[in-house]
Amino acid sequence: MAKDQLMPYEQAIEQFEVVIGLEVHVELNTKSKMFCGCANEFGSEPNTNVCPTCIGLPGSLPAVNKKAVESSIAIGLALGCQIAPTGRFARKNYFYPDLAKNFQTSQYDEPIAFDGKVDIELEDGEKFEVLIERAHMEEDAGKLTHVGGATGRIQGAEYSLVDYNRAGVPLVEIVTKPVFGAGAKAPELAAAYVRAIRDMVKAMNVSDARMERGNVRCDANVSLRPRGQEKLGTRTETKNVNSIRSVENAVRYEIQRQAHILAGGGSITQETRHWHEDRGHTSAGRPKSDADDYRYFPEPDLVPVVPAAEWIEEIRATLPENPALRRKRLQGDWGFSDLEFRDVLNADLLDQVEATVAAGAQPQAARKWWTGELSRLANAQDVSPDELAITPAQVARIQQLIDSGDLTDRLARDVVAGVLAGEGEPEEVIEKRGLKVVTDEGALVAAIDAALAQQPDVLEKIREGKVQAAGAVIGAVMKAMGGQADAARVRELILERAN
């Protein structure tokens, strides 16, 4: 494939106004599928979670999963949308082997939720309002695996396998209105928006929200128009961008690619494009027009969804705090700097730190544990910190023991290791491993004497004002005491001896 020519990013932004539009598909984590009783489960043997309805056998009929409707309404409410008093399903007709009935049961002119907005704050503090056109319910398709080709794509494959376990899994598609005015920050805004949706559905527990499993998928629409032009440019739709970083990269790439074509007098082909994470570029998919003919019509096998106003209010009352507002509140409460807070967010440790603080630890101490030692240990085990075999309450307890002087930092790390090794609660580990700080001053003094004997010039240096010379002795004492000494007390004792 010929490599696309790209215009330098700053130049592209200078010449063109960027307009983006985002479609995010959220897979709901309901127990059963959208229109049948099959398990909604990731990773089962292929074609085991199937029935006549989700493989579209003749005579089968759909029946709406009420929990999926509830989750969809909850998402609509969290997006600030209005909920339609009556919503209808529609058939979107097209042929594809992963689509059992050769139509997708979706919603068309009567989505369950419409007209919302999401506030997005970028890292530099600039705020954007992303308007939501609609959020509608639909079913997922099956999964195709192309076998025999070099690339795993359909082109060149010898045959394809279909797994219908995913067919009929409930989806909510969230569609934004065109987003103007983000300029050079359009890619960052797109990524921040997708992150916001992911965080939101995760906090609401309506989706597992794991992008690597396709629980949240983004189609990114990008068009450019010369600055000052009223008419929107031709857009491309980059499909299935499945990580937040990719959203940013794919939008940036499309801006540069389209800018080069337009600046050279060319025109943009309206089409879908595929994002190649490994090579960092997009490639052409199929041509797409606004008149793509899906022959929508109301689904005659289903009656309209008519959610009672009281039900909607009940759902509204169960909505968790908006993740953005929650972050703002916690950063204020904890007094973290932007940098400190971002570290916590980037490592996805907000819940852990919050729970550790709630268990009695000081916020800064809780943060240091999770972003420091515990992240390091998790990394070494190739798991995420929240998967470590230690609870926030145990972390808080260990910190309390440090604060009371019963543990040193070094001893505390040993206690953590013991907890992770399954040796029990922190107190039990301390007991079993004998990890108590030595408070017997006689033993300390003896150790200091021994160390000073080895380094006789140290006291002299301290007297001359070179206090840092004490470090070498402290190190030797700590070593001699097996780490079970309070380094600060050792230092005090050495300085006393120098006076």
Binding site: P58, L61, A63, A100, N102, V162, A291, Y296, P300
Partner: protein
């Protein structure tokens, strides 16, 4: 030949219940006759003696143990091939489903089994129920027991000819635009389309989802009522099924009286376009009712004029979508063309070989009607007509209890007569289609033999939605009047099939 086969289902049920005859004897009698005569009528696509007799033995055993599963316990029945059966091929009359044995029973079949009714076999039909004669069955046409050179009606001609030919005491049908009522009328039998949603569509191979409804086919009104009582009821598997009970139809038949009955005759369906003999018989039916003190008024349903046009947009539109699943990927026929077998080429070759001409015609019509830019003009307008027809009917039913019309414009035509004229074929359903568009119940009851050709005619009773009992009441009353005149149901006048030549 056992005389048992000429008895109505209600009488057979009583004999079985009193243990004067066993289900096995009854089922064997119908099987013997079916195996002998199916080559004449071609009512059945599939017959399975072993399974039917096993079910009959089971019914007898249950009865012996004191368990009565239903008022039709032990009475055998024929199933239209549009219903899925997990132990028999279910083809809907199409080559594309030849040999397909579904992994599940339709709700209606499940209820039939639970009612301890042995299933004799699967009956012939126009492919995917598209047709009025069974001539569009991929497996060949069924024949009318009154005259084997004539059509038994369609799409449920297999069921109507089975019942009218005494190859089965009861059968099921599916009625999308008249596929139960039209075959009943031209074979001198009884057929009822319940209110939309009264009988579950789960496991009914779909033609047009918003119009399809399953109903009974029989030789008496009581038999149809008894069967509807067995198959009706709410089903969570069908979102469009009615959650409330419509009551007992058999009860409505048994209690039927003329008291206070008010009947409407639809102006638009009582004059033009009907065969003279049919018109004459219809007038006779009305006169008989008047003689019983029934009040008869003419009602105006001006939107009926557009019913066929609207129907032939809505039906193909929904069918084009429902039939998209026949793509060779998961079930049914697969044809691999020469050369590179891409999914598109395999799909095209399969559909080319697997679908018949009428199915292709309607898929193309429906795809066109739903196309962007045409939707409003076609599908949208048709839906508006549907609303107007409902309004016409609402108005009519504010004045009368039921409406009566001739069921079919003509008696049974000759095989092949209308095969090349789709429009003429479509007009057979002119009186039956409004009920499907409005979702109301309708049934056809025999009202004599037309003077021109001596062939059966039917009168249609239409009632408001959910008032199936009212429809059965009037059907039963009309039947009473004719039985009083003839001494037996019309079907007793049918020729002896065993000596008839096709």
């Amino acid at each position: 030949m056992s005389e048992l086969v000429f008895k109505p289902a209600s009488e057979l049920a009583q004999l079985i219940a009193k243990k004067e005859v066993s289900s096995l004897e009854v089922t064997t009698a119908f099987f013997d006759r079916s195996e002998k005569l199916n080559e004449k009528t071609f009512s059945y696509l599939h017959l399975d003696r072993d399974k039917a007799l096993a079910a009959a033995k089971q019914a007898d055993a249950e009865l012996a143990a004191g368990n009565v599963s239903s008022p039709l316990h032990g009475v055998p029945i024929a199933m239209k091939d549009v219903l899925t059966t997990k132990d028999a091929p279910s083809t809907a009359g199409s080559k594309i489903l030849q040999g397909w044995i579904p992994p599940y029973d339709s709700t209606v079949v499940r209820k039939i089994r639970e009612a301890a009714m042995p299933i004799l076999g699967k009956t012939n039909m126009d492919e995917f129920a598209m047709g009025s004669s069974t001539e569009f069955s991929a497996y060949g046409p069924s024949k009318n027991p009154w005259d084997l050179t004539r059509i038994p009606g369609g799409s449920g001609g297999g069921s109507s000819s089975a019942v009218a030919g005494f190859l089965a005491p009861l059968a099921t049908g599916s009625d999308t635009g008249g596929s139960i009522r039209y075959p009943a009328a031209v074979t001198g039998s009884v057929g009822a389309k319940p209110t939309y949603g009264a009988v579950s569509r789960y496991g009914v191979i779909a033609l047009a989802s918003s119009l399809d409804q399953i109903g009974p086919v029989s030789n008496t009104v009581l038999d149809s009522a008894l069967l509807q009582d067995v198959i009706a009821g709410y089903d969570p598997m069908d979102s469009t099924s009615i959650p409330t009970s419509l009551g007992s139809m058999a009860e409505a038949v048994r209690r039927a009286d003329f008291k206070g009955l008010k009947v409407g005759v639809v102006k638009q369906l009582s004059s033009d376009g009907f065969q003279a003999g049919i018109k004459e018989l219809f007038d006779d039916t009305i006169a008989k009712l008047v003689a019983q003190g029934v009040e008869v008024v003419e009602v105006d349903c001006p939107s009926f004029e557009y019913a066929i046009a609207a129907y032939y947009l809505i039906l193909p539109a929904e069918a084009s979508s429902n039939l998209a699943r026949y793509d060779s990927v998961r079930f049914g026929m697969r044809v691999e063309p020469e050369g590179n077998p891409t999914i598109e080429r395999v799909m095209a070759a399969t559909r080319e070989a697997g679908f018949g001409p009428e199915v292709k015609r309607r898929i193309i019509l429906g795809t066109y009607a739903l196309s962007s830019g045409y939707y409003d003009a076609y599908y949208g307008s048709a839906q508006k007509v549907r609303t107007l027809i409902q309004q016409d009917l609402d108005k009519a039913f504010s004045q009368v209890d039921v409406l009566l019309t001739p069921t079919a414009p003509t008696t049974a035509f000759k095989l092949g007569e209308k095969l090349d004229d789709p429009l003429a074929m479509y007009l057979n359903d002119i009186a039956t289609i409004p009920a499907n568009l409005a979702g109301i119940p309708g049934m056809s009851v025999p009202n004599g033999l037309a003077k021109e050709d001596g062939l059966p005619s039917g009168v249609q009773s239409l009632a408001p939605a959910m008032q199936d009992a009212q429809m059965y009441r009037v059907g039963a009353l009309i039947e009473q009047l004719y039985v009083a005149q003839w001494g037996a149901p019309l079907i007793a006048q049918a020729p002896n099939l065993e000596v008839a030549n096709g």
